[in-house]
């Protein structure tokens, strides 16, 4: 088990590595290079922002990193496991254990309580009911929603919904937290609140990869990967001492 203590002890461990990652789409007779060969390394406990104009390939990269999709070419090694070429069910297992998603539109089950939403990854991990509820409540407590466990998403504010989504992403102790424009649907005050949650998580050892097009959001990250036309344009390391080398 990769506990958070372990992460801090191995702060330089590479958790994501891609080599020549390509994703091609066929549009009629034309071949679109959504990703044209991406090489990158991300270390444990890094806080990364992926930026780029629309069409730059950042959604495609995010889908590949999140194991929602497989590359046409190239290698992707996640936490020591080569992911390219895995079948649907194996990818589902990796999503379940290694990745916590946070979406722009929250993507909570509308008819289920906050607690049940957070339990969902544990259900698919086969965790017994009692332990599941315990863990889900804990996760909700870490995002300050211990008193909202039985509320449905439509009874919660936007910020609260996103915090439920973050609790869901964290509940299975994933290797990476993968956030896709997590503040895109929130007002600036709530955005700030959510960004603070991410910073706290990062401070406690969580690896975070955030796709965004907002500069003031990306500024919170340690490193910004900018994509253009399916290629990495720049690795711009900022902030503190962890100028993770590439």
């Amino acid at each position: 088990m990769n506990g958070k203590q372990g992460m801090q002890m191995n702060g330089n461990e590479i958790i994501i590595e891609t080599r020549g990652l390509k994703k091609l789409y066929q549009m009629g007779s034309e071949t679109i290079h959504a990703l044209a060969g991406v090489d990158m390394q991300i270390r444990r406990n890094e806080y990364i922002a992926i930026m780029g104009p629309s069409g730059s390939g950042k959604s495609t990269l995010m889908n590949l990193i999140g194991c929602l999709d497989t590359p046409t070419e190239g290698e992707y090694i996640l936490n020591g496991t080569p992911v390219q070429g895995l079948d649907d069910d194996e990818l589902a297992r990796i999503r379940n254990r290694e990745i916590g998603f946070v979406f722009q539109t929250f993507n909570l089950l509308p008819r289920a309580s906050a607690l049940h939403n957070v339990e969902l990854p544990l259900i698919y991990a086969g965790v017994p009911a009692k332990e599941r509820q315990e863990k889900a409540k804990q996760a909700l407590a870490t995002v300050d929603l211990a008193d909202r466990t039985h509320h449905k998403p439509n009874e919660l504010s936007g910020g609260q919904r996103q915090r439920v989504a973050i609790a869901r992403a964290l509940v299975n102790e994933p290797s990476i937290l993968l956030a896709d424009e997590p503040t895109g649907n929130l007002d600036s005050k709530t955005s700030e609140e959510i960004m603070n949650v991410f910073e706290e998580l990062h401070a406690s050892g969580q690896t975070i990869i955030m796709v965004t097009h907002e500069h003031d959001i990306s500024e919170k990250a340690q490193r910004v990967i900018t994509l253009r036309d399916g290629l990495i344009e720049s690795h711009d390391a900022r902030a503190d001492g962890l100028l993770a080398g590439v």
């Binding site: 589902a92 999503r95 993507n107 969902l120």
Partner: protein
């Protein structure tokens, strides 16, 4: 766990859209209702025939010699029926032959009977009755017991007394508030003193006893018989099945000898037993049960198609949910199981409603007609199993479609 999830979602949907659910499930409901109603009524009749009717009409270990078969098995040919029609009448001489053939008979009795228009007492009457002229021992052989008064005695027979023992329905009709015993009833142009009333048999075939009037055979013969020496049936009751079978063979041989039939020639009389009746009934039941699957499966197939459509709609409306589940780690089979559980729950709810309605219909039939109803546990099990099968069957394709959703596309859908 996803099974519970599917069941829970299905229950919520049924509860939230009661009318829509009723329409969704109507095919399954009708199919199972029909199944249960038919099974229940047939099973009820079955038990009745086996336990009450066969026993009370023929009695156990009893066989009856008649001129020609009274039960249509559906198997005999037209020619055979014509030949039987030429069989000679049974007579008192045949009674002697039978008596000689089975001297150790536990009970032996003979009788003749005919339908009669009307019996009257004072200004009251009862129509459509059966007059039975019975020899001594007939009531004991039939297992009939008097409720009030007495049965027929050898003395009545010998002296040719004009006495009658009447069925319960006749007594209720003619004597709503007086004691029938000792009263004088009129059958056609003759008067009879009521000496007893049979206890009520009731049930589907109850009118056989309850609408009958028993007279001494000698009196019946002189008063109502078309041919004074004619006997309609000679019944023999033995103490065991083996004895009965042996006696049956003895009687058959004695009658053949007496009538001079050559070996290979068919009997010109007929021997009935309760097992013969039960065989016939079994055939009827088998035909009924053979017809059920066809009728039931039509409505279940229709019901399954409706459920499948509803499930396809449900899948289409929950693509995003499927995407979310896949993103957090649901495998294809997890999604499959969830939707299969949902369709099965829907269908089983339909089956349960059908079972309740079917039992309701059967109970109504039991209450308003003389037909008995009996709900066999296997009928309920069959209903639920069919419900499950329809649910799984109709859910397969929608569940497969759901499981195959691409999570990226699904997450983007509205």
């Amino acid at each position: 766990m996803f099974v519970l999830e599917g069941i829970w979602i299905a229950l919520q949907q049924v509860w939230a859209h009661k009318l829509k659910s009723a329409f969704t499930l109507i095919g399954v409901i009708i199919g199972i209702t029909f199944l249960i109603a038919v099974i229940t009524v047939v099973e009820g009749m079955n038990r009745y025939v086996q336990e009450d009717f066969a026993g009370s009409l023929f009695g156990v270990n009893t066989f009856t010699v008649v001129r020609r078969s009274r039960i249509s098995t559906g198997a005999e040919t037209e020619e055979r029926r014509r030949r039987q029609a030429r069989n000679p009448d049974l007579t008192l001489h045949d009674v002697e032959v039978v008596q000689r053939a089975v001297p150790d008979a536990w009970r032996l009795a003979y009788s003749s009977d005919r339908g009669f228009d009307e019996v009257t007492y004072a200004d009251r009457n009862r129509r459509n009755i059966r007059l039975i002229g019975a020899s001594e021992g007939y009531e004991a052989l039939q297992g009939w017991e008097v409720l009030t008064g007495r049965g027929l005695t050898p003395l009545d027979e010998r002296r040719g007394l004009k006495v009658a023992v009447i069925g319960a329905e006749i007594a209720e009709k003619l004597f709503p508030d007086v004691e029938p015993v000792g009263k004088e009833i009129r059958i056609g142009s003759h008067r009879f003193e009521v000496v007893g009333v049979w206890d009520k048999q009731g049930g589907l075939f109850g009118n056989i006893r309850d609408a009958s009037i028993l007279l001494p055979f000698s009196v019946y013969r002189q008063t109502y018989a078309r041919n004074p020496s004619e006997v309609d049936q000679i019944s023999v009751k033995m103490r065991s099945l083996e004895e009965m079978e042996a006696a049956q063979v003895a009687v058959e041989g004695a009658l053949r000898t007496d009538r001079g039939l050559r070996p290979g020639e068919e009997n010109d009389f007929w021997i009935e037993t309760s097992s013969e009746l039960l065989d016939t009934w079994d055939k009827i039941v088998r035909v009924l049960f053979a017809a059920i699957p066809g009728l039931v499966s039509i409505s279940l197939v229709v019901g399954g198609i409706v459920i499948m459509n509803i499930m396809l709609l449900s899948v289409a409306g929950r693509v995003r949910e499927i995407g979310i589940r896949k993103a957090v780690g649901a495998r294809r089979r997890d999604i499959m199981i969830q939707f299969l559980a949902e369709s099965s729950t829907l269908s089983i709810i339909g089956a349960m409603v059908g079972i309740l309605l079917g039992i309701g219909i059967a109970k109504a039939v039991e209450a308003f007609t003389p037909m008995p109803a009996s709900v066999p546990p296997w009928g309920i099990a069959a209903g639920l199993t069919l419900g499950l099968l329809v649910g799984v069957g109709s859910g397969l394709y929608p569940a497969y479609r759901a499981a195959r959703q691409d999570p990226i596309v699904a997450l983007r859908s509205e």
